[in-house]
């Protein structure tokens, strides 16, 4: 870029010509084409809007978002915030958005972990491990996600009932009512300890930066991990102990026909999460494999020649270069997982699509319902791509 700017011949502006009203003038043609195409598009939209307004009037369908404050009266099985059928439509839709986010966030984390493991397994020198990973990737990517979700859901339904539940470890029950896990009785002390952990992580990051800045000045490497462990693990433990160290296990147990206590994961959520994670992991594994293979072997050899340890080579040399290749396609996989979570409607998990769909069936306001679905997904998609673009530009190669 700077070369061309310095070249005086290129700094000279092209000769100015007036716009000729003739078909031979390229700029005139461009204006005519644009006016024509924008006119046609605007005309079609105008026609559709006109039809729609007429149809809405004829069918006596209300317009506007007034229905949001009305009582929804639709039951929702699982919700992160307090909700009853007497709540408003706005609240029901909020529950839907939170349910979508619940699947998307946990799905992205699990799919990344599983996908990375499979991608590394695919590159393993062990033939059996590598072949199994390759077969998994090929099979999972060649089957429609919806089919896989229905399969998982059917599998959940064919599990035995609560009385004959699968019981691999004490306190874990897998039955056709879903998964039950042991949990703890949540008290204030736990909330404060969690808060302490967040503060500890931030403090550890700040400390790490200042230690690195000092190392840059005097060249003395400093051990960061003792302080980091103290801040991230020690601080929450101290806070927890200061509040009297409450720990009351909440172990699920069979009472009558169902389980009591513990954390409950519904069969719908379990099937959706399992389907999304295993499917997306297949794609992420290929991305991770391609990313690692994109780093030339010479980088390993050069780092070894410098005397770096294997872990440091991976962390300081190979991973930063591989991430540059991995991040952009990974972003689109995260977006895909989020959008694919809309398939929840097929197996009865109440995400935003399912609840907005019920809302539009109850109120008849199709346009508003679909606008809400699209608005929610556009917002989530844009947020993920903004964040990932920011992260990508942070790790991108700085070129002179």
């Amino acid at each position: 870029m700077s070369d061309t700017a310095a070249d005086p011949r290129l700094l000279r502006a092209p000769p100015k010509r007036g716009l000729r009203l003739s078909w031979a003038d390229e700029r005139f043609r461009a204006i005519i084409w644009q006016v024509l195409i924008v006119g046609v598009v605007a005309g079609v939209i105008w026609w559709l809007v006109g039809n729609t307004r007429h149809n809405l009037e004829v069918r006596r369908i209300a317009t506007g978002f007034g229905f949001l404050t009305r009582e929804a009266g639709l039951p929702i099985a699982e919700s992160l915030v307090p909700y009853t059928p007497a709540s408003t439509y706005a609240r029901a839709l909020l529950v839907g958005v939170l349910n979508t986010l619940k699947v998307a966030v946990i799905g992205v984390v699990l799919a990344t972990v599983l996908g990375t493991l499979i991608g590394i397994a695919r590159l393993s020198k062990n033939w059996l491990l590598s072949r199994i990973a390759a077969t998994y990737i090929e099979v999972i990517r060649d089957l429609p996600l919806l089919l896989q979700l229905l399969f998982w859901y059917t599998l959940m339904q064919t599990l035995p009932g609560p009385r004959q539940a699968m019981h691999p470890v004490e306190g874990v029950f897998l039955s056709n009512r879903g998964l039950r896990l042991p949990w703890i009785q949540w008290e204030d002390a736990h909330s404060f300890a969690l808060l302490g952990m967040v503060v500890g992580i931030i403090a550890a990051v700040v400390y790490g930066r200042s230690a690195r800045a000092k190392q840059m000045q005097d060249g003395q490497p400093r051990k960061i991990w003792p302080a980091a462990v103290g801040l991230i693990v020690g601080l929450p433990l101290v806070i927890w102990a200061a509040w009297g160290a409450p720990f009351q296990g909440d172990i699920p147990a069979l009472r009558g026909f169902n389980f009591q206590g513990g954390m409950s994961i519904s069969p719908e959520y379990f099937a959706l999460l399992a389907g999304l994670v295993t499917y997306t992991a297949g794609f992420i594994a290929e991305i991770v494999r391609a990313g690692i293979q994109a780093v030339p072997g010479g980088q390993w050899e050069a780092s070894e020649a410098l005397g770096l340890q294997r872990g440091k080579i991976m962390r300081l040399v190979v991973l930063p270069q591989a991430l540059r290749v991995i991040i952009p396609p990974m972003t689109s996989q995260y977006l895909n997982l989020t959008k694919n979570s809309s398939l929840a409607v097929a197996i009865g998990y109440q995400d935003i699509v399912s609840i907005a769909n019920t809302t539009l069936n109850q109120t008849g306001q199709a346009i508003e319902g679909i606008a809400i679905i699209m608005g929610v997904y556009l917002t989530i998609s844009l947020s993920i791509s903004l964040f990932m673009n920011w992260y990508n530009s942070r790790i991108a190669l700085v070129e002179r």
Partner: protein, 380 residues
């Protein structure tokens, strides 16, 4: 040892050359290097081999040894007690034996099932012809038009002694193939136009294309299908009505076009500037430049990702299940609604999955082969 052997030449001309030790070449060496190279690798191999063997034995037991292939059918319907008595220990393939025609052809009249069957083979033939590089020429478009017309004629009928079959009765595999093939056939030209528009120097056209692509790519296909099924009727003037299948088809075309447009744009960007400048220097018009210089090279660059997008679209047609169109997956799901067959979903989904897998696996292998073939000139 005698002196004679010491002074004899170690290798004479007629001594047959010895093989390398089996620890260096051959299956033993291979196993050592790729299965038992270290104690960790050995542990992984043994653990995986054990799990794999257990899984294969369990699967063979379920799918073949304990499986039931047919059940008696009487006036009350299918008698599935034998299957239920298995309690999941074996597969009940009887559901496939009994329902495969329904899964493959939906509610199409039973006596006319040969027509969708012929259509399925026509589609497969069309794919094979399109995949062969010697047919990559202009006449291919004519073949596509001809075959698609023939398929429409066969499906509707109403002439040559074939009774008319309305669209509502079509179903099964042929719907999946129709949705994906017509989807790609119409989405592809649209995608090329949008990709060109997005790289255009005219700001208004560029903006229109950017908004279209980003809007469609930002929302799930389901929301577009819902739009097609519940919102689209409101858009049309009163009295005008478009069939549900066609509305879903339009949604799939619009969706596919946005994704294909991004792939094509990648090809347009990957082409070196010199090609554009050289075409301009020859005094070619925009359309001459695009059609004869740019597109042939740009599309060639992106054939592998295009095929990957086609695979994605083929799988995504299954989403029409949610708006109640009778494709392969919907037919499979409907087949087990009948009380006698309830609870045999796994068998049906395995069967449907195998059909999807055959199509997608063929495309994916083809794409990999093509990638190697098209990059031949870069391999040194």
């Amino acid at each position: 040892m005698s002196d004679a052997t010491l002074h004899a030449p170690a290798v004479s001309a007629d001594t047959p050359s010895r093989r390398p030790p089996i620890t260096v070449v051959g299956p033993v060496a291979w196993a050592r290097a790729s299965l038992f190279s270290s104690w960790l690798s050995t542990a992984v191999t043994l653990a995986l081999a054990y799990l794999l063997a257990r899984w294969i034995i369990g699967f063979v037991d379920w799918a073949f040894i304990n499986a039931i292939w047919s059940v008696p059918v009487n006036a009350q319907g299918a008698q599935t007690q034998a299957c239920r008595a298995l309690q999941g220990a074996g597969a009940c393939w009887a559901v496939i034996t009994e329902k495969h025609r329904f899964i493959l052809f939906g509610t199409y009249p039973y006596d006319e099932h040969w027509r969708p069957l012929v259509c399925v083979f026509l589609f497969i033939g069309l794919y094979i012809v399109s995949a062969m590089r010697r047919f990559w020429r202009k006449e291919l478009a004519l073949i596509w038009a001809g075959v698609l017309f023939l398929i429409g004629f066969l499906m509707w009928g109403g002439a040559l002694g074939m009774p008319y079959v309305p669209q509502e009765r079509w179903g099964g595999l042929v719907i999946t193939l129709i949705l994906s093939t017509f989807g790609i056939a119409f989405a592809f030209p649209l995608a090329v136009l949008v990709a060109l528009g997005r790289r255009s120097r005219m700001p208004a056209i560029k903006m229109l294309c950017v908004v279209y692509v980003e809007l469609i790519r930002g929302v799930p296909l389901i929301s577009l299908l819902f739009m097609a099924s519940v919102m689209f009727p409101l858009f049309l003037p009163e009295g005008m009505n478009i069939d549900k299948l066609l509305r879903a088809q339009v949604a799939i075309i619009l969706f596919a076009a946005a994704y294909l447009a991004e792939v094509v744009r990648g090809g347009l960007q990957a082409l070196s500037r010199g090609q554009y400048e050289a075409a301009d220097a020859l005094g070619l018009s925009y359309w001459q430049k695009t059609l004869f210089i740019i597109l042939p090279q740009a599309l060639r660059l992106v054939i592998p990702p295009l095929v990957n997008t086609f695979i994605g679209m083929f799988k995504d047609t299954s989403l029409v299940l949610i708006i109640g169109i009778f494709d392969l997956l919907t037919a499979g799901k409907t087949a087990i609604v009948e009380p006698a067959w309830q609870g045999f979903g796994i068998e049906v989904y395995v069967f449907v999955g195998i059909i999807y897998f055959i199509f997608c696996f063929a495309m994916s292998r083809y794409s990999q082969g093509l990638e190697r073939g098209l990059n031949q000139h870069r391999v040194r």
